[in-house]
């Protein structure tokens, strides 16, 4: 019973094996990819391991506090940062091995030529609550 984040990058992860940009796929290949992602989420719901998933716009803005009574400073929009998060899936699983297995499945989503993308996904454990029994 532990939660993991499966993090998908637009940029910043090592290059995928089938690394053709999505705008160069056929429309059918795009549909197949989208369907694969939907099926993946549906399967997780069915196994009782699904927590959340969301996709992010590639463009973001940096914001920071600029002192009392002043509006926050913004900078951007940036699409050129080194590391760019595309979206995530949060799972609740019984083991780290199971998290890796699911990330592997997600990375097999089809891309150009209907072949798996072999995309690199980042698996990050969530910080949990402290256990009651410590010693």
């Amino acid at each position: 019973m532990a939660k993991y984040l499966l993090l998908k990058h637009y940029r910043g992860a090592p290059a995928a094996v089938n690394d053709v940009p999505m705008d160069q796929w056929t429309p059918e290949e795009i549909s197949a990819h989208v369907q694969y992602m939907r099926d993946f989420a549906a399967r997780l719901e069915e196994t009782g391991e699904f927590v959340d998933h969301l996709a992010l716009s590639p463009e973001g803005t940096f914001v920071r506090y600029d002192g009392e009574g002043r509006p926050p400073v913004t900078d951007g929009p940036f699409a050129e940062t080194k590391d760019l998060i595309a979206g995530w899936t949060v799972i609740d699983v019984d083991s780290y091995e199971r998290a890796l297995e699911l990330a592997g499945e997600l990375s097999a989503a089809p891309g150009a030529g209907g072949k798996p993308i072999h995309e690199w996904l980042e698996v990050r454990p969530f910080l949990a609550v402290p256990p009651t029994i410590a010693e």
Binding site: F50, D52, L127
Partner: protein, 385 residues
């Protein structure tokens, strides 16, 4: 005039009512749903008219819900109605039935998270929403987890004897891990373990119950008002719940007297020795090390060896603790935290500060990370000599 429903009493009737339905021939999965519906209805109608016989009321309503569900399913399949009429009330359920439910919900074919969820619902009488909130997952996910678990055990015969050890592991998980919704999981685990102890005479069940009571006793002292962790040595022992400690110790002594030691009794014995010390300095670390030796013999868990190294450090000095630690794999969770503590006790503050910071990076939860970061900061802030 309405009277609020005593939900704990209501939920304590759950396993009994469910067992009666199963004994009458209902399949476990449908019966379990029917009992849930009856519980919901009880919460709705009891305030205006509490029944004289709560259990009888629940059995009647749950059985009706079961028949409705079975008839609806049969109609859907355009099959003949198999269930004809309500049977005469069965014999008073044996405590054995409750025990069988524990076995079923902790069946070895279930994953730990499924077994936990099913136990909390079918034995604990919690709703799917409450269980989902306690484990921070969407309600739909928890509903799937529970219905899959029910499918997994659907072929298991209800009267098949089970293994108490699997049940104890599930209850231990409920006690030890979980977020917090509107359900106090630790209190729920204690309630379920008490109920189990009433159904079966087994020293390890007593051991686990004692362990839970002894740790639960320290709950108020474990957290500072700002939510940060207070380590055992720094806890205000005046805030420990002496009643809970007394009960835990008494249960443990009765279990140990039967001379069938197991890991939960050994863990409880360690907790009891801590509970017994009026101040941290008066802790009987020599005895605690002996209990860790027993525990290591029983479980061979690396976590036990790590905790043993801490105890050795207290009993025989930090150098001895570090020597014990040196035999262990340094990739173990909390290894760096233990090393930091022992190095600090040994006077090597620079190494301790570095290891505390390293341990904070690896901490599995926020409270520990904050605690370890503060330890590193405390040592880093010391006046340089």
């Amino acid at each position: 005039m309405t009277t609020p429903v005593d939900e704990v009493l209501l939920r304590s009737l759950t396993p009994n009512v469910l067992a009666i339905l199963v004994r009458r021939g209902a399949d476990f999965a449908t019966a379990e749903d029917a009992v849930q519906e009856a519980l919901v209805e009880a919460v709705r109608v009891w305030p205006d008219g509490p029944p004289r016989d709560p259990k009888g009321w629940l059995v009647t309503v749950a059985w009706r819900k079961f028949l409705d569900a079975t008839r609806a399913a049969a109609a859907r399949r355009r099959r003949e109605d198999l269930v004809q009429e309500e049977p005469a009330p069965g014999p008073a359920p044996a405590v054995d039935d409750t025990l069988q439910l524990y076995f079923l919900c902790a069946h070895p074919s279930l994953t730990p998270s499924s077994a936990v969820a099913l136990t909390l619902r079918a034995v604990g009488g919690l709703t799917t929403r409450q269980i989902a909130a306690a484990y921070l997952v969407p309600e739909a996910t928890m509903a799937q987890r529970i219905s899959r678990a029910k499918r997994t055990v659907s072929g298991v015969r209800f009267d098949q004897p089970g293994d108490v050890a699997t049940v104890l592991r599930v209850l231990y998980l409920v006690f030890n891990e979980g977020y917090s919704g509107d359900v106090d999981l630790a209190a729920e685990a204690i309630r379920l373990t008490r109920q189990l102890a009433a159904a079966i005479d087994h020293p390890e069940v007593s051991g686990l119950l004692a362990l839970m009571l002894l740790h639960h006793a320290r709950r108020a002292a474990r957290t500072a008002p700002d939510g940060s962790l207070v380590p055992l040595a720094e806890q205000d022992r005046g805030r420990w719940d002496t009643e809970s400690i007394a009960e835990g110790v008494q249960i443990l002594q009765a279990a140990l007297a039967r001379d069938r030691l197991g890991e939960f009794q050994a863990q409880a014995a360690i907790a009891a020795l801590h509970a017994d010390a009026p101040t941290a300095e008066e802790t009987d670390w020599v005895q605690i090390v002996e209990w860790y030796d027993e525990l290591a013999r029983l479980t061979d868990s690396p976590v036990v060896r790590l905790n043993r190294a801490v105890a050795v450090g207290e009993a025989d000095g930090p150098r001895a603790g570090l020597a014990a630690l040196a035999e262990l794999d340094d990739s173990l969770p909390r290894h760096a935290a233990v090393a930091a503590y022992l190095h600090e006790r040994d006077g090597d503050l620079a190494t301790a500060a570095r290891l505390y910071a390293e341990a904070a990076q690896k901490a599995p939860n926020l409270a520990e990370r904050a605690h370890l970061t503060r330890q590193a900061a405390r040592l880093n802030a010391r006046p340089s000599s």
